[in-house]
Amino acid sequence: MSITRDEVAHLARLSRLALGDEELDHFAVQLDAIVSAVARVQEVAAEDIPPTTHALPLVNVFRADEVRPSLGTAEALSGAPAAEDERFRVPRILEED
């Protein structure tokens, strides 16, 4: 076993996914098979091989700091699940005292 059900439950919490018991059971088996298969990458002896994060040899891309038109408040809020006073309305983010 390369990944346990408890680990999957912990990862789901880290990923903000409220999974049910059945889903966890199912994913634990599948993820174990996937992790075992992708572990093949460890067969490659690679002490001196640099990692590639990106296909292009890009470093930093800069642009001029210019004022440009952007979305208005109404457009920015057009897809909001809840809005109030021209702002996104969100559930409480602090614990109550």
Binding site: I3, L11, L14, R16, I34, V41, P51, T52, P81
Partner: protein, 494 residues
């Protein structure tokens, strides 16, 4: 009308023999007739399409200089933002969302006068190889309605193969354009990474995602490639270079003297014999056309799949964190007592499908401290080795070739709950995403066992996209003269 190529339709509209409104209406009628069986579209924008078509006709009547595809209809993958149509990525978490802005690709389609018929079905957030991971519907392969149309851009491939649209857009992260093109008998191209803009493309794996064209022939694909590609300052990984001369290359298919490498690792166990038969015949064909064919070994390619299924989920786990139920999309469980964090977790559990959840968890695992070096780190080293294999190969040959997929279209449901079996569909396409080079799939015949389409993959160095089109055009011309008509004419009538 619907059986004409995009280039022909563009010319007929330009010469005044027909109008964009007539062409658009013909395709909307076709959609009405076959869509009940194919299910390629998540959203058909009939009224908007006719408005766009009328607008192109008006611009032309006013004497405006328009491009070769002006007035031609197109199906647009539902992963690109469109401010006049919903954009869902086939996910419940974005159900009904109409973005406040257009993707660069969308903008350029409009600027070229292409008429967007609607948005096509896909695997949720482009994760999959069969389009079965859509939260809304299962799309059928027009060759056999019980089979998958490939994925993730399966709605686009099915729409083009079913003559619902002459052109479609797609995105390719591990093969999501080339594999659906191969299994539906059409042409699909993954441009060089950075050659087409990701601005407004809902991100899956940002270092791999590449928009590209679908068409029923090589020239049409090149025309569409040219229409929406090129430098975009709004995408920081966009390549600031001229678009390679893809249209000219598609018009002069010629392989005389070209050095072609057959990737040794892409054959053998797991490959359907009918696929290998058609591939081997195409190799002989290339030789008869004057190409110098040699076998090339790329040993790191055998680790590409494993490396991809660490890198892509890792990037996805980070990218999909934006779906937090706060600014747009679904919100579940906000009853006034739950915290933002609880609402987030409930929303994401309700809004994402199983494959998306699996990949988020897998990516979170690969990036966790304690596992990072063993998984993500090693996968990035494999990526280096794959790039080196390509570099070494391209010192010996001009292009590399392989089958696009190990098998033809598999039956709907066969691999739906077996992730590892599903992942194998992208075995041959993944290396070009890892290295960022150009690659195309072009039809090369039907497999003996099941009479289903087989694709030839042609891979060229980064920014040598035109080479893919040149070889693909030569293969297309030679095979169509052998078959006496395009492959798609052999598909059963819908």
């Amino acid at each position: 009308m619907i059986f004409k190529t995009a280039a022909e339709l563009g010319a007929l509209i330009a010469s005044g023999e027909t109008t964009s409104v007539e062409v658009t209406r013909a395709h909307l009628e076709r959609i009405e007739q076959v869509e009940g069986r194919v299910n390629a579209f998540l959203h058909v924008a009939a009224e908007r399409a006719l408005e766009q078509a009328a607008d192109v006709d008006r611009r032309r009547a006013e004497g405006e200089e328009l491009g070769p595809l002006a007035g031609v209809p197109i199906a647009h993958k539902d992963v690109f933002t469109t401010k006049d149509m919903p954009t869902t990525c086939a996910s419940k978490i974005l159900e009904g969302w109409v973005p406040p802005y257009d993707a660069t690709v969308t903008e350029r389609l409009r600027a070229a006068g292409l008429v967007i018929l609607g948005k096509t079905n896909m695997d949720e957030f482009a994760m999959g190889s069969s389009t079965e991971n859509s939260a809304y519907q299962v799309t059928s392969n027009p060759w056999d309605l019980t089979r998958i149309p490939g994925g993730s851009s399966g709605g686009s491939s099915a729409a083009v193969a079913a003559y619902e649209a002459p052109l479609a857009t797609g995105t390719d992260t591990g093969g999501s354009i080339r594999q659906p093109a191969a299994v539906t008998g059409i042409v699909g191209m993954k441009p060089t990474y950075g050659g087409s803009s990701r601005y407004g493309l809902v991100a899956f794996a940002s270092s791999l995602d590449t928009p590209g064209p679908f068409a029923r022939n090589v020239l049409d694909a090149a025309l569409l490639h040219e229409a929406f590609s090129g430098y975009d300052p709004r995408d920081s990984t966009s390549v600031d270079e001229a678009v390679p001369p893809v249209v000219a290359a598609a018009r002069q298919g010629d392989v005389a003297g070209l050095r072609v490498g057959v990737v040794k690792e892409f054959a053998g166990e797991g490959y359907q014999s009918g696929v290998l038969n058609r591939f081997n015949e195409t190799v002989e064909l290339l030789e008869s056309l004057g190409a110098k064919v040699v076998e090339v070994s790329c040993p790191a390619f055998t680790y590409a799949l494993a490396s991809y299924y660490l890198i892509a989920p890792s990037e996805a786990s980070s990218n999909l964190a934006r779906f937090d139920a706060m600014r747009y999309g679904l919100r579940v469980g906000d009853d006034g007592t739950r915290s933002a964090e609880e609402v987030m977790a409930l929303t994401r559990a309700a809004g994402f499908g199983p494959e998306v959840k699996r990949r988020i968890i897998l990516g979170t695992y690969a990036l966790s401290s304690g596992y990072y070096d063993a998984y993500y780190g090693k996968a990035q080293q494999v990526r280096t080795l794959i790039t080196r294999d390509f570099e070494a190969a391209f010192t010996q040959v001009d292009v590399l070739i392989s089958p696009t997929t190990p098998t033809t279209a598999f039956p709907i449901g066969e691999r739906a709950d077996d992730p590892m079996a599903m992942y194998l569909a992208d075995l041959c396409t993944i290396p070009s995403n890892m290295a960022g080079n150009a690659a195309i799939s072009v039809p090369c015949g039907l497999a003996d066992e099941d009479n289903l389409p087989v694709g030839l993959q042609i891979m060229a160095p980064a920014l040598a996209d035109d080479r893919c089109y040149r070889v693909a055009a030569a293969v297309e011309t030679a095979l169509e003269s052998r078959w006496s008509s395009p492959l798609l004419t052999k598909a059963p009538a819908l």
